[in-house]
Amino acid sequence: MSTSPSPLLPAVPHLIIPESEEPYLQGSRCGQCEAVFVGTRNVCSACGARDQMTPFALANEGELYVFSIVHRSFPGIEVPYVSAVVDLDGGGTVKGNLIGIEPDPEKIKMGMRVKTVFEKTDRKDAEGNEYLAYFFQPA
Protein backbone atom coordinates (compact mmCIF):
# COMPACT_ATOMS: atom_id res chain seq x y z
CA MET A 1 0.00 0.00 0.00
CA SER A 2 1.38 3.35 -1.05
CA THR A 3 1.29 6.37 1.20
CA SER A 4 2.54 8.80 -1.46
CA PRO A 5 -0.12 11.36 -2.43
CA SER A 6 -1.97 10.62 -5.64
CA PRO A 7 -1.31 13.13 -8.43
CA LEU A 8 -3.51 16.19 -8.70
CA LEU A 9 -6.26 16.09 -11.31
CA PRO A 10 -6.99 19.12 -13.50
CA ALA A 11 -10.07 21.15 -12.45
CA VAL A 12 -11.02 21.48 -16.15
CA PRO A 13 -9.90 19.50 -19.21
CA HIS A 14 -8.03 22.44 -20.77
CA LEU A 15 -5.67 22.59 -17.79
CA ILE A 16 -2.78 20.31 -18.71
CA ILE A 17 -0.49 18.86 -16.02
CA PRO A 18 2.61 17.34 -17.67
CA GLU A 19 4.60 14.86 -15.58
CA SER A 20 7.83 16.79 -15.32
CA GLU A 21 7.01 20.27 -16.57
CA GLU A 22 4.94 23.23 -15.44
CA PRO A 23 1.18 23.07 -15.90
CA TYR A 24 -0.35 25.16 -18.66
CA LEU A 25 -3.68 26.02 -20.27
CA GLN A 26 -4.29 24.44 -23.61
CA GLY A 27 -5.70 26.24 -26.60
CA SER A 28 -6.01 25.53 -30.27
CA ARG A 29 -5.77 27.64 -33.38
CA CYS A 30 -7.52 27.21 -36.71
CA GLY A 31 -5.12 26.85 -39.64
CA GLN A 32 -7.67 28.33 -42.00
CA CYS A 33 -8.98 31.44 -40.18
CA GLU A 34 -6.58 31.79 -37.21
CA ALA A 35 -9.40 31.74 -34.64
CA VAL A 36 -8.19 30.73 -31.19
CA PHE A 37 -10.16 28.47 -28.86
CA VAL A 38 -9.70 27.39 -25.29
CA GLY A 39 -9.19 23.61 -25.17
CA THR A 40 -9.01 21.26 -28.13
CA ARG A 41 -11.55 20.56 -30.86
CA ASN A 42 -11.75 19.07 -34.36
CA VAL A 43 -13.89 21.62 -36.17
CA CYS A 44 -13.54 25.39 -36.15
CA SER A 45 -16.79 27.09 -35.12
CA ALA A 46 -15.59 30.37 -36.59
CA CYS A 47 -15.17 29.16 -40.18
CA GLY A 48 -16.32 25.54 -40.16
CA ALA A 49 -12.96 24.12 -41.28
CA ARG A 50 -12.42 20.49 -40.31
CA ASP A 51 -9.18 18.99 -39.07
CA GLN A 52 -7.35 22.32 -39.21
CA MET A 53 -7.01 22.85 -35.48
CA THR A 54 -3.52 22.87 -33.97
CA PRO A 55 -3.21 22.61 -30.18
CA PHE A 56 -0.79 24.97 -28.44
CA ALA A 57 0.02 26.17 -24.94
CA LEU A 58 -1.82 29.40 -24.14
CA ALA A 59 0.34 32.19 -22.74
CA ASN A 60 0.66 32.54 -18.96
CA GLU A 61 0.23 36.30 -19.14
CA GLY A 62 -2.37 38.62 -20.48
CA GLU A 63 -4.67 41.53 -19.85
CA LEU A 64 -7.74 41.79 -17.64
CA TYR A 65 -10.55 42.43 -20.10
CA VAL A 66 -13.52 42.76 -17.72
CA PHE A 67 -14.59 41.54 -14.29
CA SER A 68 -17.46 41.23 -11.86
CA ILE A 69 -17.25 40.95 -8.08
CA VAL A 70 -19.51 38.20 -6.86
CA HIS A 71 -21.06 38.79 -3.44
CA ARG A 72 -23.83 36.23 -3.61
CA SER A 73 -23.19 32.71 -4.81
CA PHE A 74 -24.42 29.22 -4.09
CA PRO A 75 -24.39 27.79 -0.56
CA GLY A 76 -20.93 26.72 0.53
CA ILE A 77 -19.06 28.96 -1.90
CA GLU A 78 -16.99 31.61 -0.19
CA VAL A 79 -17.69 35.21 -1.22
CA PRO A 80 -16.69 37.73 -2.36
CA TYR A 81 -14.60 36.65 -5.33
CA VAL A 82 -13.57 38.41 -8.48
CA SER A 83 -14.72 36.74 -11.68
CA ALA A 84 -12.27 37.85 -14.35
CA VAL A 85 -12.27 37.57 -18.14
CA VAL A 86 -8.67 37.61 -19.32
CA ASP A 87 -7.31 38.02 -22.86
CA LEU A 88 -4.10 35.99 -22.93
CA ASP A 89 -1.14 37.22 -24.94
CA GLY A 90 -1.14 35.58 -28.37
CA GLY A 91 -4.85 34.79 -28.27
CA GLY A 92 -7.40 32.99 -26.15
CA THR A 93 -9.88 34.44 -23.64
CA VAL A 94 -10.21 32.61 -20.34
CA LYS A 95 -12.37 33.12 -17.26
CA GLY A 96 -11.02 32.64 -13.77
CA ASN A 97 -10.85 34.06 -10.27
CA LEU A 98 -8.64 37.13 -9.92
CA ILE A 99 -6.67 36.82 -6.68
CA GLY A 100 -4.05 38.89 -4.90
CA ILE A 101 -6.09 42.08 -5.13
CA GLU A 102 -8.84 43.58 -3.01
CA PRO A 103 -12.32 42.80 -4.35
CA ASP A 104 -13.00 46.49 -4.81
CA PRO A 105 -14.06 48.05 -8.13
CA GLU A 106 -11.85 51.05 -7.37
CA LYS A 107 -8.75 48.86 -7.12
CA ILE A 108 -9.30 46.56 -10.08
CA LYS A 109 -8.40 48.18 -13.39
CA MET A 110 -9.64 46.79 -16.66
CA GLY A 111 -6.65 46.51 -18.98
CA MET A 112 -4.23 45.69 -16.13
CA ARG A 113 -1.59 43.03 -16.75
CA VAL A 114 -2.21 39.69 -15.07
CA LYS A 115 -0.46 36.33 -14.98
CA THR A 116 -1.79 32.81 -14.61
CA VAL A 117 -0.87 30.89 -11.48
CA PHE A 118 -1.60 27.25 -10.72
CA GLU A 119 -2.60 26.16 -7.24
CA LYS A 120 -4.11 23.19 -5.53
CA THR A 121 -7.74 23.79 -4.56
CA ASP A 122 -9.47 22.66 -1.36
CA ARG A 123 -12.30 21.17 -3.37
CA LYS A 124 -12.31 17.39 -3.67
CA ASP A 125 -14.58 15.15 -5.70
CA ALA A 126 -16.80 12.41 -4.27
CA GLU A 127 -13.89 9.92 -4.38
CA GLY A 128 -11.62 12.27 -2.44
CA ASN A 129 -9.38 13.12 -5.40
CA GLU A 130 -7.50 16.40 -5.18
CA TYR A 131 -7.40 19.01 -7.92
CA LEU A 132 -5.19 21.66 -9.45
CA ALA A 133 -6.85 24.91 -10.55
CA TYR A 134 -5.66 28.11 -12.18
CA PHE A 135 -6.03 31.68 -11.00
CA PHE A 136 -5.07 35.10 -12.24
CA GLN A 137 -3.11 37.63 -10.23
CA PRO A 138 -1.73 41.08 -10.99
CA ALA A 139 1.54 40.72 -12.92
Binding site: S45, P105, Y131
Partner: protein, 381 residues
Amino acid sequence: MANDVYVIGVDMIKFGKFPDRTVPSLGAEAALLALDDAGLTIQDMQALYCGNLMEANAMVGQRVLQEIGQTGIPVVNCANACATGATAFREAWIAIKAGIYDVVLAVGVEKMAGAGLLGGGRKRKGIPTEGLLGSGTMPAVFGEAGMEHSRKYGTTFEQFAKVSVKNHHHSTLNPKARYQIETPLDEVMGAEMIAYPNTKLMCSVNVDGSAAAVLCSEEKMRQLGGSRAVKVTASALTSDRWTERDLTMPDVSTCTREAAKAAYEMAGCGPEDLDLVELHDCFATAEILHYENLGLCGDGEAGRMINEGEAQLGGRIPVNVSGGLLSKGHPLGATGIANVYEVCTQLRGEAGARQVDDARIGLTHVIGLGSACAIHVFEKQ
Protein backbone atom coordinates in the same frame (compact mmCIF):
# COMPACT_ATOMS: atom_id res chain seq x y z
CA MET B 1 -45.93 41.65 -48.20
CA ALA B 2 -47.78 38.46 -48.90
CA ASN B 3 -49.51 36.67 -46.03
CA ASP B 4 -49.35 39.46 -43.48
CA VAL B 5 -49.75 38.17 -39.93
CA TYR B 6 -51.84 39.80 -37.21
CA VAL B 7 -52.24 39.47 -33.48
CA ILE B 8 -55.99 39.41 -32.85
CA GLY B 9 -55.96 38.40 -29.23
CA VAL B 10 -53.33 38.74 -26.54
CA ASP B 11 -53.21 38.77 -22.74
CA MET B 12 -51.15 37.84 -19.71
CA ILE B 13 -51.89 36.99 -16.10
CA LYS B 14 -50.60 39.25 -13.36
CA PHE B 15 -47.13 37.88 -12.64
CA GLY B 16 -46.55 36.63 -9.10
CA LYS B 17 -46.13 33.60 -6.90
CA PHE B 18 -48.55 30.72 -7.35
CA PRO B 19 -47.17 27.82 -5.32
CA ASP B 20 -50.43 25.88 -5.55
CA ARG B 21 -50.82 26.15 -9.32
CA THR B 22 -49.33 23.87 -11.99
CA VAL B 23 -47.49 25.09 -15.07
CA PRO B 24 -50.29 23.91 -17.42
CA SER B 25 -52.97 25.61 -15.32
CA LEU B 26 -51.13 28.94 -15.52
CA GLY B 27 -50.68 28.48 -19.27
CA ALA B 28 -54.36 27.59 -19.66
CA GLU B 29 -55.41 30.76 -17.85
CA ALA B 30 -53.46 32.99 -20.24
CA ALA B 31 -54.68 30.97 -23.24
CA LEU B 32 -58.31 31.50 -22.26
CA LEU B 33 -57.71 35.22 -21.68
CA ALA B 34 -56.15 35.58 -25.14
CA LEU B 35 -58.95 33.60 -26.78
CA ASP B 36 -61.53 35.82 -25.05
CA ASP B 37 -59.64 38.88 -26.21
CA ALA B 38 -59.85 37.56 -29.80
CA GLY B 39 -63.51 36.57 -29.40
CA LEU B 40 -62.60 33.01 -30.40
CA THR B 41 -62.55 29.58 -28.77
CA ILE B 42 -60.05 26.75 -28.61
CA GLN B 43 -62.13 25.02 -31.31
CA ASP B 44 -61.11 27.80 -33.71
CA MET B 45 -57.37 27.21 -33.18
CA GLN B 46 -55.53 25.19 -35.82
CA ALA B 47 -52.26 24.73 -33.93
CA LEU B 48 -50.62 25.55 -30.59
CA TYR B 49 -47.05 26.76 -30.08
CA CYS B 50 -46.09 26.52 -26.43
CA GLY B 51 -43.03 28.03 -24.78
CA ASN B 52 -41.76 26.66 -21.46
CA LEU B 53 -38.22 26.03 -20.31
CA MET B 54 -38.14 24.33 -16.92
CA GLU B 55 -40.52 21.48 -17.92
CA ALA B 56 -39.32 21.37 -21.52
CA ASN B 57 -39.35 17.57 -21.49
CA ALA B 58 -42.91 17.32 -20.20
CA MET B 59 -45.37 18.18 -23.01
CA VAL B 60 -46.60 21.43 -21.46
CA GLY B 61 -48.56 22.45 -24.60
CA GLN B 62 -50.55 19.23 -24.62
CA ARG B 63 -51.19 19.56 -20.89
CA VAL B 64 -52.54 23.09 -21.49
CA LEU B 65 -54.98 21.63 -24.02
CA GLN B 66 -55.91 18.91 -21.53
CA GLU B 67 -57.12 21.78 -19.33
CA ILE B 68 -58.98 23.83 -21.96
CA GLY B 69 -59.88 21.61 -24.93
CA GLN B 70 -58.28 18.54 -26.48
CA THR B 71 -59.11 19.29 -30.09
CA GLY B 72 -56.35 17.13 -31.55
CA ILE B 73 -54.48 20.03 -33.15
CA PRO B 74 -50.72 19.95 -33.71
CA VAL B 75 -48.74 21.12 -30.68
CA VAL B 76 -45.12 22.29 -30.82
CA ASN B 77 -43.28 22.71 -27.50
CA CYS B 78 -40.44 25.23 -27.65
CA ALA B 79 -37.43 25.79 -25.40
CA ASN B 80 -34.84 28.47 -26.18
CA ALA B 81 -33.64 29.79 -22.80
CA CYS B 82 -35.06 33.26 -22.09
CA ALA B 83 -36.09 33.54 -25.77
CA THR B 84 -38.48 30.59 -25.28
CA GLY B 85 -41.76 32.53 -25.40
CA ALA B 86 -40.65 34.68 -28.32
CA THR B 87 -39.55 31.57 -30.18
CA ALA B 88 -42.99 29.98 -29.72
CA PHE B 89 -44.58 33.22 -30.95
CA ARG B 90 -42.26 33.21 -33.96
CA GLU B 91 -43.09 29.59 -34.81
CA ALA B 92 -46.76 30.60 -34.80
CA TRP B 93 -45.92 33.55 -37.05
CA ILE B 94 -44.01 31.29 -39.45
CA ALA B 95 -46.95 28.90 -39.75
CA ILE B 96 -49.35 31.71 -40.71
CA LYS B 97 -46.75 33.33 -42.95
CA ALA B 98 -46.26 30.05 -44.76
CA GLY B 99 -50.00 29.82 -45.37
CA ILE B 100 -50.29 26.51 -43.53
CA TYR B 101 -52.86 27.79 -41.00
CA ASP B 102 -55.20 30.79 -40.72
CA VAL B 103 -55.36 31.10 -36.94
CA VAL B 104 -53.13 29.67 -34.24
CA LEU B 105 -52.40 30.08 -30.54
CA ALA B 106 -49.05 30.82 -28.88
CA VAL B 107 -48.69 30.35 -25.13
CA GLY B 108 -45.70 31.06 -22.87
CA VAL B 109 -45.62 29.90 -19.26
CA GLU B 110 -43.09 29.43 -16.47
CA LYS B 111 -42.93 28.82 -12.73
CA MET B 112 -39.85 30.59 -11.41
CA ALA B 113 -40.76 31.88 -7.95
CA GLY B 114 -38.05 30.88 -5.49
CA ALA B 115 -35.73 29.63 -8.24
CA GLY B 116 -32.91 31.71 -6.74
CA LEU B 117 -29.62 32.32 -8.45
CA LEU B 118 -29.44 30.98 -12.01
CA GLY B 119 -26.45 29.76 -13.99
CA GLY B 120 -23.08 28.57 -12.79
CA GLY B 121 -24.38 25.70 -10.69
CA ARG B 122 -24.34 23.00 -13.34
CA LYS B 123 -23.27 19.64 -11.94
CA ARG B 124 -20.36 18.17 -13.81
CA LYS B 125 -17.78 15.45 -13.40
CA GLY B 126 -15.00 16.30 -11.00
CA ILE B 127 -15.38 19.38 -8.83
CA PRO B 128 -17.72 22.37 -9.17
CA THR B 129 -15.91 25.33 -10.71
CA GLU B 130 -18.26 28.15 -9.66
CA GLY B 131 -16.28 30.58 -7.52
CA LEU B 132 -13.06 28.72 -8.37
CA LEU B 133 -12.71 29.60 -12.05
CA GLY B 134 -14.73 32.81 -11.98
CA SER B 135 -18.52 32.89 -12.11
CA GLY B 136 -21.18 31.52 -14.40
CA THR B 137 -24.01 33.02 -12.36
CA MET B 138 -26.30 35.25 -14.41
CA PRO B 139 -25.77 38.42 -12.31
CA ALA B 140 -22.00 38.08 -12.78
CA VAL B 141 -22.19 37.21 -16.48
CA PHE B 142 -24.31 40.30 -17.12
CA GLY B 143 -22.18 42.29 -14.70
CA GLU B 144 -19.19 41.48 -16.90
CA ALA B 145 -21.17 42.43 -20.02
CA GLY B 146 -21.92 45.79 -18.40
CA MET B 147 -18.27 46.26 -17.45
CA GLU B 148 -17.37 45.84 -21.12
CA HIS B 149 -19.55 48.89 -21.78
CA SER B 150 -17.88 50.71 -18.89
CA ARG B 151 -14.49 49.85 -20.30
CA LYS B 152 -15.38 51.20 -23.75
CA TYR B 153 -17.40 54.26 -22.78
CA GLY B 154 -16.91 54.95 -19.09
CA THR B 155 -20.45 53.95 -18.14
CA THR B 156 -20.89 54.22 -14.37
CA PHE B 157 -22.53 52.11 -11.66
CA GLU B 158 -24.94 55.00 -11.16
CA GLN B 159 -25.99 54.99 -14.82
CA PHE B 160 -26.69 51.26 -14.69
CA ALA B 161 -28.67 51.78 -11.49
CA LYS B 162 -30.82 54.46 -13.15
CA VAL B 163 -32.23 51.79 -15.47
CA SER B 164 -33.69 50.06 -12.44
CA VAL B 165 -35.13 53.28 -11.03
CA LYS B 166 -36.89 53.90 -14.35
CA ASN B 167 -38.29 50.40 -14.83
CA HIS B 168 -39.48 50.08 -11.25
CA HIS B 169 -41.18 53.45 -11.68
CA HIS B 170 -42.91 52.26 -14.87
CA SER B 171 -44.21 49.17 -13.11
CA THR B 172 -46.10 51.30 -10.60
CA LEU B 173 -48.39 52.08 -13.56
CA ASN B 174 -48.83 48.44 -14.58
CA PRO B 175 -51.28 46.43 -12.48
CA LYS B 176 -50.07 43.18 -14.10
CA ALA B 177 -46.46 43.69 -13.00
CA ARG B 178 -45.16 41.66 -10.07
CA TYR B 179 -44.23 44.83 -8.15
CA GLN B 180 -45.64 48.36 -8.04
CA ILE B 181 -42.94 49.94 -5.90
CA GLU B 182 -40.80 53.02 -6.51
CA THR B 183 -37.09 52.43 -5.93
CA PRO B 184 -35.12 55.69 -5.67
CA LEU B 185 -31.53 55.76 -6.91
CA ASP B 186 -29.91 55.57 -3.46
CA GLU B 187 -32.05 52.54 -2.65
CA VAL B 188 -31.05 50.75 -5.88
CA MET B 189 -27.36 51.55 -5.41
CA GLY B 190 -27.48 50.71 -1.72
CA ALA B 191 -29.26 47.39 -2.11
CA GLU B 192 -27.38 44.15 -1.48
CA MET B 193 -24.61 43.78 -4.04
CA ILE B 194 -25.15 40.51 -5.89
CA ALA B 195 -22.43 40.73 -8.53
CA TYR B 196 -20.84 44.11 -9.17
CA PRO B 197 -22.20 46.25 -10.71
CA ASN B 198 -25.62 44.57 -10.30
CA THR B 199 -27.32 45.00 -6.93
CA LYS B 200 -30.37 42.99 -5.95
CA LEU B 201 -32.69 45.69 -7.31
CA MET B 202 -30.83 45.53 -10.63
CA CYS B 203 -31.63 41.83 -11.14
CA SER B 204 -34.83 40.65 -12.81
CA VAL B 205 -37.45 39.08 -10.58
CA ASN B 206 -38.03 35.31 -10.60
CA VAL B 207 -41.81 34.99 -10.80
CA ASP B 208 -44.52 32.65 -12.02
CA GLY B 209 -46.37 33.87 -15.07
CA SER B 210 -48.02 33.20 -18.38
CA ALA B 211 -49.03 35.07 -21.50
CA ALA B 212 -50.70 34.07 -24.74
CA ALA B 213 -51.46 35.42 -28.20
CA VAL B 214 -53.78 34.47 -31.04
CA LEU B 215 -52.21 35.04 -34.46
CA CYS B 216 -54.03 34.99 -37.78
CA SER B 217 -53.75 35.68 -41.49
CA GLU B 218 -54.91 38.93 -43.09
CA GLU B 219 -57.89 37.19 -44.65
CA LYS B 220 -58.97 35.77 -41.32
CA MET B 221 -58.46 39.13 -39.64
CA ARG B 222 -60.76 40.84 -42.17
CA GLN B 223 -63.32 38.07 -41.83
CA LEU B 224 -63.35 38.60 -38.06
CA GLY B 225 -63.49 42.38 -38.40
CA GLY B 226 -60.33 42.87 -36.41
CA SER B 227 -60.45 46.56 -35.52
CA ARG B 228 -58.08 45.90 -32.60
CA ALA B 229 -55.76 43.68 -34.63
CA VAL B 230 -52.07 44.55 -34.57
CA LYS B 231 -49.89 43.75 -37.56
CA VAL B 232 -46.65 41.80 -37.03
CA THR B 233 -44.34 43.56 -39.46
CA ALA B 234 -41.17 41.67 -38.61
CA SER B 235 -39.91 38.56 -36.87
CA ALA B 236 -36.21 37.85 -36.58
CA LEU B 237 -34.27 35.18 -34.71
CA THR B 238 -30.50 34.85 -34.51
CA SER B 239 -28.00 32.70 -32.66
CA ASP B 240 -24.55 33.64 -31.48
CA ARG B 241 -22.27 34.07 -34.47
CA TRP B 242 -18.63 33.31 -33.62
CA THR B 243 -16.92 36.31 -32.07
CA GLU B 244 -13.58 36.44 -30.32
CA ARG B 245 -14.73 36.02 -26.70
CA ASP B 246 -18.23 34.54 -27.13
CA LEU B 247 -17.41 31.07 -25.79
CA THR B 248 -15.96 32.52 -22.57
CA MET B 249 -18.09 35.64 -22.23
CA PRO B 250 -21.41 35.29 -24.07
CA ASP B 251 -21.73 38.04 -26.67
CA VAL B 252 -25.33 39.28 -26.42
CA SER B 253 -24.62 42.31 -28.58
CA THR B 254 -23.72 40.78 -31.94
CA CYS B 255 -26.80 38.53 -32.08
CA THR B 256 -29.00 41.48 -31.08
CA ARG B 257 -27.49 43.77 -33.71
CA GLU B 258 -27.95 41.15 -36.41
CA ALA B 259 -31.55 40.43 -35.39
CA ALA B 260 -32.31 44.17 -35.25
CA LYS B 261 -30.89 44.73 -38.72
CA ALA B 262 -32.98 41.87 -40.14
CA ALA B 263 -36.11 43.05 -38.32
CA TYR B 264 -35.83 46.68 -39.41
CA GLU B 265 -35.27 45.54 -42.98
CA MET B 266 -38.32 43.28 -42.91
CA ALA B 267 -40.52 45.89 -41.24
CA GLY B 268 -39.35 48.61 -43.62
CA CYS B 269 -38.62 50.94 -40.73
CA GLY B 270 -35.72 52.03 -38.57
CA PRO B 271 -35.18 52.65 -34.87
CA GLU B 272 -36.17 56.30 -35.38
CA ASP B 273 -39.70 55.15 -36.31
CA LEU B 274 -40.31 53.28 -33.05
CA ASP B 275 -42.72 54.66 -30.46
CA LEU B 276 -41.82 52.16 -27.73
CA VAL B 277 -39.54 49.22 -27.04
CA GLU B 278 -39.80 46.28 -24.65
CA LEU B 279 -36.25 44.96 -24.43
CA HIS B 280 -34.47 42.27 -22.43
CA ASP B 281 -33.55 43.96 -19.14
CA CYS B 282 -32.70 40.71 -17.36
CA PHE B 283 -30.19 42.87 -15.47
CA ALA B 284 -29.92 46.65 -15.40
CA THR B 285 -26.54 46.43 -17.13
CA ALA B 286 -28.12 44.63 -20.10
CA GLU B 287 -30.60 47.39 -20.88
CA ILE B 288 -27.76 49.88 -21.41
CA LEU B 289 -26.11 47.63 -24.02
CA HIS B 290 -29.32 47.12 -25.92
CA TYR B 291 -30.07 50.84 -26.40
CA GLU B 292 -27.08 50.81 -28.71
CA ASN B 293 -27.57 47.29 -30.07
CA LEU B 294 -31.10 48.17 -31.19
CA GLY B 295 -29.98 51.50 -32.63
CA LEU B 296 -32.03 53.58 -30.17
CA CYS B 297 -28.91 55.75 -29.82
CA GLY B 298 -25.42 55.79 -31.27
CA ASP B 299 -22.60 53.66 -29.88
CA GLY B 300 -21.34 55.13 -26.63
CA GLU B 301 -24.49 57.22 -26.09
CA ALA B 302 -26.45 54.86 -23.83
CA GLY B 303 -25.14 56.46 -20.65
CA ARG B 304 -26.27 59.86 -21.83
CA MET B 305 -29.59 58.37 -22.94
CA ILE B 306 -30.40 57.08 -19.43
CA ASN B 307 -29.10 60.27 -17.79
CA GLU B 308 -31.36 62.44 -19.90
CA GLY B 309 -34.48 60.37 -19.36
CA GLU B 310 -34.93 59.55 -23.02
CA ALA B 311 -36.04 55.98 -22.26
CA GLN B 312 -38.67 57.05 -19.74
CA LEU B 313 -42.40 57.18 -20.33
CA GLY B 314 -42.81 60.59 -21.98
CA GLY B 315 -39.21 60.55 -23.22
CA ARG B 316 -37.89 60.32 -26.77
CA ILE B 317 -38.20 56.52 -26.95
CA PRO B 318 -39.85 54.89 -23.92
CA VAL B 319 -38.23 51.56 -23.02
CA ASN B 320 -39.87 48.92 -20.84
CA VAL B 321 -42.92 50.94 -19.87
CA SER B 322 -44.37 47.66 -18.57
CA GLY B 323 -41.77 47.68 -15.80
CA GLY B 324 -39.58 45.27 -17.73
CA LEU B 325 -38.11 42.05 -16.46
CA LEU B 326 -36.67 44.04 -13.55
CA SER B 327 -40.05 44.77 -12.00
CA LYS B 328 -42.84 43.20 -14.03
CA GLY B 329 -40.91 39.95 -13.59
CA HIS B 330 -39.16 37.40 -15.76
CA PRO B 331 -40.94 34.02 -16.03
CA LEU B 332 -38.60 32.77 -18.78
CA GLY B 333 -41.04 31.01 -21.11
CA ALA B 334 -43.71 33.68 -20.70
CA THR B 335 -41.49 36.73 -21.01
CA GLY B 336 -41.39 36.96 -24.81
CA ILE B 337 -45.17 36.82 -25.16
CA ALA B 338 -45.71 39.19 -22.22
CA ASN B 339 -43.60 41.68 -24.21
CA VAL B 340 -45.94 41.17 -27.16
CA TYR B 341 -48.90 41.83 -24.84
CA GLU B 342 -47.38 45.12 -23.69
CA VAL B 343 -46.59 46.40 -27.17
CA CYS B 344 -49.98 45.36 -28.61
CA THR B 345 -51.80 46.90 -25.65
CA GLN B 346 -49.93 50.15 -26.23
CA LEU B 347 -50.60 50.12 -30.00
CA ARG B 348 -54.28 49.49 -29.28
CA GLY B 349 -54.27 52.54 -27.03
CA GLU B 350 -55.43 50.44 -24.07
CA ALA B 351 -52.47 50.85 -21.71
CA GLY B 352 -54.17 53.19 -19.26
CA ALA B 353 -51.88 55.19 -16.99
CA ARG B 354 -48.74 54.05 -18.79
CA GLN B 355 -50.04 54.73 -22.30
CA VAL B 356 -47.41 56.05 -24.72
CA ASP B 357 -49.00 58.91 -26.68
CA ASP B 358 -49.91 58.07 -30.28
CA ALA B 359 -48.05 54.76 -30.19
CA ARG B 360 -48.01 53.38 -33.73
CA ILE B 361 -44.91 51.13 -34.01
CA GLY B 362 -43.34 49.03 -31.25
CA LEU B 363 -40.54 46.50 -30.92
CA THR B 364 -40.00 43.52 -28.63
CA HIS B 365 -36.59 41.99 -27.91
CA VAL B 366 -35.41 39.03 -25.86
CA ILE B 367 -32.11 37.27 -25.36
CA GLY B 368 -31.73 33.64 -24.43
CA LEU B 369 -28.23 33.26 -23.09
CA GLY B 370 -26.21 30.71 -24.94
CA SER B 371 -27.46 32.43 -27.20
CA ALA B 372 -30.67 33.32 -29.02
CA CYS B 373 -32.03 36.73 -29.89
CA ALA B 374 -35.63 37.23 -31.01
CA ILE B 375 -37.02 40.55 -32.20
CA HIS B 376 -40.55 41.35 -33.36
CA VAL B 377 -41.91 44.59 -34.74
CA PHE B 378 -45.58 45.51 -34.50
CA GLU B 379 -47.64 48.20 -36.21
CA LYS B 380 -51.02 49.64 -35.44
CA GLN B 381 -53.66 49.33 -38.17
